[in-house]
Each structure stands twice: as C-alpha cells, then as structure tokens.
Symmetry: C2
Subunit: 167 residues, 2 copies
DNA sequence: AAAGTTATCTGCATGCATGCAGATACTGCG
DNA sequence: CGCAGTATCTGCATGCATGCAGATAACTTT
C-alpha cells in the first residue's frame, strides 16, 4: 500500500540503482578492454552461440566494414574467434572463446563479491525472490535496450556497403 | 536450501542479469549522448551536488586538461554548468542542470517501464523487499566500481598537469 | 609587493572506432 | 560456363576523447 511519498522514493531509489549498476558495467567493460560495440557484440554471440559477420553487423547496427574491424578487435583480445561456415565459404562465423568468458568473470568479480555480501543478509526465501526477479528482469532489460537502440538509431536503414546494384 | 546445482544456476542468472543491466545502461548513455567519462562525471556531480573542476579530474582519473574538455561537453549538452567559487576565483564549480536529469529520465524510460511490468507481478511485501535490495545494492555497486577503477588504472598517480615543482 | 603555488584553460599530437566505397571471394541460376 | 548477387575485407578519411605541456589568472606567504 505504497503512499505517494513512497512512490516518489521508489522512483529515486530505482534511478540510483540503475545508475550504479550501469556505472559498474561501464567500469567492468573498460577493465576488460571492451567498448560499447564490443560488449554488445560479445553479449550477442554468447547468447546466440554464434553469429555470422553479416548478422552481427545488422544486430549491432554497424556497417559490415566496421563489423569486420570489430571482429578483428574481439579476436585479437581473445574474446572471440572466426570460424568457417561449411555450407557457404563466403561467410564468417563468429563465436565466443570459452576461456574468455572467465576473464570477464574476473572483472565482474568485485561486483559479485559486494553483492554477495548484500545477499547474505537475506533469508533463503528472500534470496529466492531476488533471483526470481533477476531471472525476469534480465529479459526485460534486454527488451528495453532494444527499444532504446531502435528508437535512437535512424530508422532509415543501415548502409551495408553492399555491391551497388545501381549502375 | 540451495543445492549445488542451484548455486551454479544462481551464478549464471546473476551474470546474465548484470550483462543485461549493463547493456541497458550503455544504450541509455548512448541515447543521451553520454560517453563513459561523461556519465561518470554527471553521476558524481549529481550525487555530490557540485564539484570543482580539479576534484572532478581526480575522481574521474582524467588529467585536468581532459577534464576541462569534459566539462565543455557536459555544458554544451546542457547537462551541467559552470559556476564561480565565491571564495576562490580560480576555481570552477561544476553542477548539474536540474532539467537535464529529466532528459536522462527519458532515455531510462523504457527500462523503467519494462521493469515496472515485472514488479507489478509481485505483492507489496515482495516489492518492498526488492526495493530494500535496490537500496542496499546501489552503494555496493558503486563500491565495486571504485574497486575496479582503482585496480585497473595505473596506481602510479595521475598526471595533473600541475606546475612541475620538480625542477 | 614579489615570488612561489595552485586551478583551470588552450594548442598540438595521438590513438581509435567508424563510415564509405571499392576489392575480393564465393554461390547459385541461367 | 558466365553472370548477377552476396559476404566479407581493405584503404582512406573523419570525428572525437584524451594526454601532454605551456599559458594565464588568482591565491598565499613572507
């Protein structure tokens, strides 16, 4: 039965929470040597298992050229690797390097430890509820991310540096 | 009574949650036209109320020169403004522009809406618990951020472009 | 009031992600 | 087999955040 004052408070609390988590993510990414595009791409190929270069381009919203360089960086950093598509030798399949995810786990370590301390003060039932929230919130955040990205980026359509059919 | 299997599951769930939230933050920042340093700086001055240019430099880990440009960008984007320090006319005090925070609220809107849907499915008591978590987790994430930043950045000490006293 | 110290700003250079356009390699259809 | 379409890569150019070092202004001490 939240009173209006509580509602405003909840608003602020959530705002600060988002800010803090986002900042932590940013710091982790920086520590891992990952920029926005790289993190996004790595998250994509990790969740999908693997993606072709072109698919990665359209999902990230980058041109195919920029995506090639993006894959170069991910590969050089050891987070991903190129593989050949047996059915179509033009295509390049990008997949995450398993060990690399452990390296990311390292940079996320501080956050995990600090949060573990917080979680330790709750009962098992309460923890279960929190993890239930985490489980449901993750897709919600991903949906929000997509919404933001599609709203922001020009809907005109990506230049994909395709062979110019005109002429 | 979490079984080992559950523990591993919790690990993964939390990992995905962090990834999703971080990505959302990244997308929001991009939509707001804020880069890492800018977001961090804006978060700092918002929480502190105001900060001098030099303090901002040391807190962000940037040189004073880079901080000047950082403030330029924040000011031009309308997120912050410069104010004079009445006690020391050399100093520049940076403070957030109140209205600007509303603009950030906009880009965070999608996340807030999606999460609101999730939260709506819990009881008041459960929501209270979740917000209790948010309240405690925010400082924990900030601590983790500091830990990551200080661990990563070279501990040698920042070049602050100060008058080189040494010779 | 002169000298030294401190706070911020500015010019220059660098590194880097990205877009664009052409190049290359491969597929599939006729 | 040849040709059109497709997937990825590469060279060039651009924009931008940052570091570095000097410049400027203001405070502090004696």
């Amino acid at each position: 039965m939240t009173t209006p004052a509580d509602a405003a408070d909840e608003h602020l609390v959530f705002r600060e929470y988002l800010d803090a988590v986002g900042l932590q993510g940013l710091a982790s990414a920086e520590a891992a040597g990952l920029h926005t595009s790289e993190w996004y791409a790595l998250s994509l190929i990790t969740r999908e298992g693997s993606l072709s270069s072109g698919e990665l381009a359209s999902r990230t919203g980058l041109t195919t050229g920029a995506t090639t360089r993006l894959i170069d960086r991910l590969e050089q950093a050891g987070y991903a690797r190129r593989a050949a598509d047996p059915n179509d030798r033009r295509r390049v399949i990008v997949e995450p390097v398993p060990d690399a995810l452990d390296r990311i786990e390292e940079v996320v370590g501080p956050a995990r430890r600090h949060i573990a301390e917080i979680l330790a003060r709750y009962t098992s039932e309460q923890r279960a509820l929190l993890f239930d929230y985490f489980r449901h919130a993750a897709p919600a955040f991903r949906a929000a991310t997509e919404e933001i990205r599609t709203t922001t980026s020009s809907p005109g359509g990506k230049k994909t540096t395709r062979a110019r059919s005109s002429r």
